[in-house]
Symmetry: none
Subunit: 250 residues, 2 copies
DNA sequence: CAAAACAACTTGTATATACAAATTTGTCAT
DNA sequence: ATGACAAATTTGTATATACAAGTTGTTTTG
């Protein structure tokens, strides 16, 4: 790690220090609760200034990866598996950010005729053609969510020809049309057997489902995302309420 | 703002700088998109070092309140449509609005000693006293949600003396103290037996749990609400995204 | 006139230094 | 032994300084 300045195209030093810690956490050579080196030790080991180490550790603490106690030391945080549902644009990025390996499997990508219930939800004529995509997203080859989408062909005529292993469905749709409005419904359920198979979960595990209805102009697209059990999902992190109350809690 | 050291019991300087900015944002004297003073101007105005100002602005940026562009300046962030997610004020009103009959049962209302895990979450000393309330809300005498709350006594000293069949806990808390921030976590789970009993559900039914952490000043209150199975909950109806993308779906 | 060069801002990063504050550990006196 | 105190270690904060790097004008130059 060069001392005075960083080379071009290299990430800044504090980021390199963060990565150095994160790599060891993600590879399980640092386990939750374990004490890591003191700032002084990291300074000596990495040949950077204490302020740079301090910034790295402080930011990792703010990000919930470490916990620090004055006079004692710095410890690997005992972390709940969390994914921010509403703040982060791409869960692929989030997985990569925490050092995981993102991959996805396209389970289905075809044109179908909309069954009456689906047609009604999408304000379509019964048995009108719709594009249907089912994609399983994985972190380190473990399925973490299954996304099931229906899209009106007029919105994205070339939808079926895309390579969604390279560009996510969201990214593609957002690139071709502006989203006018979104409606969310969240639900807890035991998924159907075919979904359980794809998510590799058993029949007793409750699963979080997020249903979205997206308006592109006056056209509607729907998606249902099933999140693998056990995880807890933060809704938008902290926010300051403009109107008090919220979420129907009494 | 004292330069060399901070007085005892005063928050650190960088926090005072953060508060100075946040106050002006919250009071709408700084509007979203507006440019704020440069670091150099804040240094001159507040009589602190640039590194202190830099830390304050950097942290506010990480918290999503500001956005910075090198060479241009620092701007008030255009807030994500988070508040739109949390629009329903009272499920009591909602039940009445759809013609149902609302009632509630106070299952527990007492002072307890906080177990260590709870104390940690509330940033309290272990076994410090906390108020604990468990209330079951019903629609036409059918339980639809169970709310479990822990409140620091300093926030609401007369909490135990209230009649929460008349005024809901939320209404009472909001009436005595302003809420600074809320954090939501949603989870799907099979609840513990005592919760299943109170909600009158069987052991195979998945249940939606909404955990809230509420900051009143720097004091924390927590609540967990368990929603009766089968229902689906709309998160704030439609909203128009200001920033495209979002919501962590791929 | 147009393009290039420059100056004047801005934020971004990195270092060295200093002291404060919390905790643990060691030592000494009783 | 035990309590009191001091020392060492650790994180927390604050400052001064320096240079890098992006943006916006202005000025110089061809």
């Amino acid at each position: 790690m060069g001392k005075p300045v960083q080379n071009i195209t290299e990430p800044p030093l504090y980021q390199q220090v963060k990565d150095y810690i994160l790599d060891r956490i993600n590879s399980n050579s640092l386990l939750p609760g374990m004490r890591i080196e003191s700032e002084a030790e990291l300074v000596a080991a990495l040949n950077v200034s204490r302020m740079t180490v301090n910034r790295a550790l402080r930011e990792l603490t703010a990000e919930g990866r470490l916990s620090r106690r004055q006079g004692q030391g710095t410890f690997v945080a005992v972390r709940k598996p969390q994914a921010a549902l509403f703040t982060i644009q791409s869960i692929a990025d989030e997985i990569r950010a925490r050092g995981g390996c993102y991959s996805c499997v396209i389970h289905l990508l075809e044109e179908e005729k909309a069954r009456p219930s689906l047609a009604a939800a999408m304000e379509l004529a019964p048995y009108a053609p719709v594009f249907h995509a089912i994609i399983i997203h994985k972190e380190d080859d473990v399925p973490i969510q299954l996304a099931c989408r229906y899209i009106r062909p007029e919105i994205a005529p070339h939808f079926l020809e895309q390579d969604f292993t390279q560009v996510t469905v969201s990214e593609y749709l957002l690139s071709i049309a502006p989203v006018a409005a979104i409606e969310h419904v969240v639900e807890a359920l035991i998924p159907e057997p075919w979904i359980r198979d794809l998510l590799e979960i058993n029949s007793a595990e409750p699963c979080l489902a997020l249903h979205r209805k997206t308006w592109v102009g006056n056209r509607i697209a729907t998606s249902s995302t099933f999140y693998s059990p056990g995880s807890r999902y933060t809704l938008g992190g902290r926010f300051t309420p403009t109107s008090p109350g919220g979420i129907g809690v009494m």
